[in-house]
Amino acid sequence: MSKSDRVSSTLELRGVSRHFGSVKALDGLDITVAPGELVALLGPSGCGKTTALRIVAGLETATAGDLMVNGVRYNDTPANERDMGMVFQHYSLFPNLSVSENIEYGLRARKVDSGKRKKRIDEMLELIGLESKRSAYPHQLSGGQQQRVALARALAVQPRVLLLDEPLSALDAQVRGQIREEIRRIQLELGITTLFVTHDQEEAMAISDRVGVMSHGRLEQIDTPIALYNSPATPFVASFVGHANRLPAEITAKGKARVLNQKVDISSSAEEFTEGMKVNVIIRPESLEIVSESDESATRGIVALKSFLGPMTKVGIAVEGAPLVHLNIASREVRKIEIGDKIAFKISSDEVMAERV
């Protein structure tokens, strides 16, 4: 199966809501996924991302709004007639069927003739690199292999849209990385429109064309991973995407604040802050830099924590009147710093984001 075998579809969610009694699981979600694009929905548990995916799959019904595929309304189309391929969070292979029978399942349901079915199974097995496991049963496969077969099974039917519901969350870290890259490779190779739900920001940022950050059933921001990280639209996005320090500050003038005895500029925001107002500012660890202790304008603190993260080490600095401040320092430089050392640092970012306390 190649790109030319399929017509990539446009997926649109227009004001889609889902209420469970008084609980708004999804509140007016608007997303358009372009043909061949991979969009991730990222957010904490209960933010509505899985509900959105399930509505697209036809496994949940929208309370309001429209689901469109290539301009056609799909709200009332049953799940089995939607032509969506879905990979689930939990292992979902049919235990009584072998790998090839699992892949064949959707093709049989669509009454594809046996010659074409056999050809498609071979293509799918080649695509996921599991030709040698065609006769194995799910319990004879590792978790990673099972999810690859689940992906092949979903793709075998040439779906209009591929839906991935946290497909990596049950896998261990190393396998997760491999499968993540494999999903992206296959998605690009086939050019299939994909909606990917995850609570893991690293996963979302690594393989998505765009990431939609969700909170309380609403879409906070949808943008490319780089834009999302560098220009978060809301404090929630700033704190949820990447790591961030949330530090108490005071507004000193319009667009200005004082935090940790340093002056910073506040980035433009819908919120109006007045002079003297207590706020929290959100500063990324890489926006803080260690400076010489002789620097009069620096903030001083004591090293309270060192977490080795490979090339970088996260250092926690205890500062009077503030929560622990985290900095990322190159691991080769951090050797000189010990817990209990006095240290001076400055805010290097041009602008920081602020939110009401």
Binding site: A57, G58, L59, P78, A79, N80, E81, R82, D83, M84, G85, M86, F88, H90, Y91, S92, L93, F94, P95, N96, S98, Y105, G106, A109, R110, S135, A136, Y137, H139, Q140, A150, R153, A154, V157, L163
Partner: protein
Amino acid sequence: MKRISLKWPLIIFSSFLSIIIFIVPLYGASLYSFRGEGGKGHSLVNYQWLLHQDGFYPSLFTSLKLAVLAGLLNLILMVPTMVYLNLKGQRYKSLVDFLCILPLIIPVVSLAIGAQVAMPKILQNSEYELVFFFVIIALPYTYRALDTSLQTVALKTLVEASRSLGATWTRTIIRVIVPAIRSGITGALFLTFALSIGEYTITSLLHWETFPTWTVVAAQQNILGAIAISVFSFVGAIALLSVIALFSKKSAQKAEVEE
């Protein structure tokens, strides 16, 4: 202090109990059933008498036929119902659980008379009405066998996976759910079959002749023949159920072993 293992004493005790309860009476009955004419010597005369009695084959055939039909009807009714209850109808589960226990609570006489009155005329005049009664009396057991089995599989995920791949509900149940809960289905079939083939009270109250009712009448004519009937019924039932169990085990193994 060394812990005393109770494993072997329990095995010996349960084996002893089995011998007392099952094997001794069966052995005794078998000895009597092989007695010759006038109670002397050993022969197959009582079994020959049994096989040549009027109504033996028709009643046995009727019982087997009704038991098979009851087993199938029970599965046709209960598998989709239990799937629905476990998937979407959790709030109705306690109600259905209660309804399924009712056949154990309601006296058989009330059940037989009451249910027969409610049955369509066409069924009231047919021995096939017994199939429905057999299904009812088996409900408490089939409900539990299927429910336990369904709770051991990731039902929701499997159903959603099947549906998202384009399968209809019928295909999903036949190709995905039934194989996944094979042990529960076998158990339900096993219990319905066993209950149906041995059911006497309702059949007798409704004046139908099945193997158990025929047995009671036939047994009054020949005491050694009656014992032969008992041994035949017991061994026959065990043999039939063993075939079902063996078939189910083989098909389960077939699914587990690599092609």
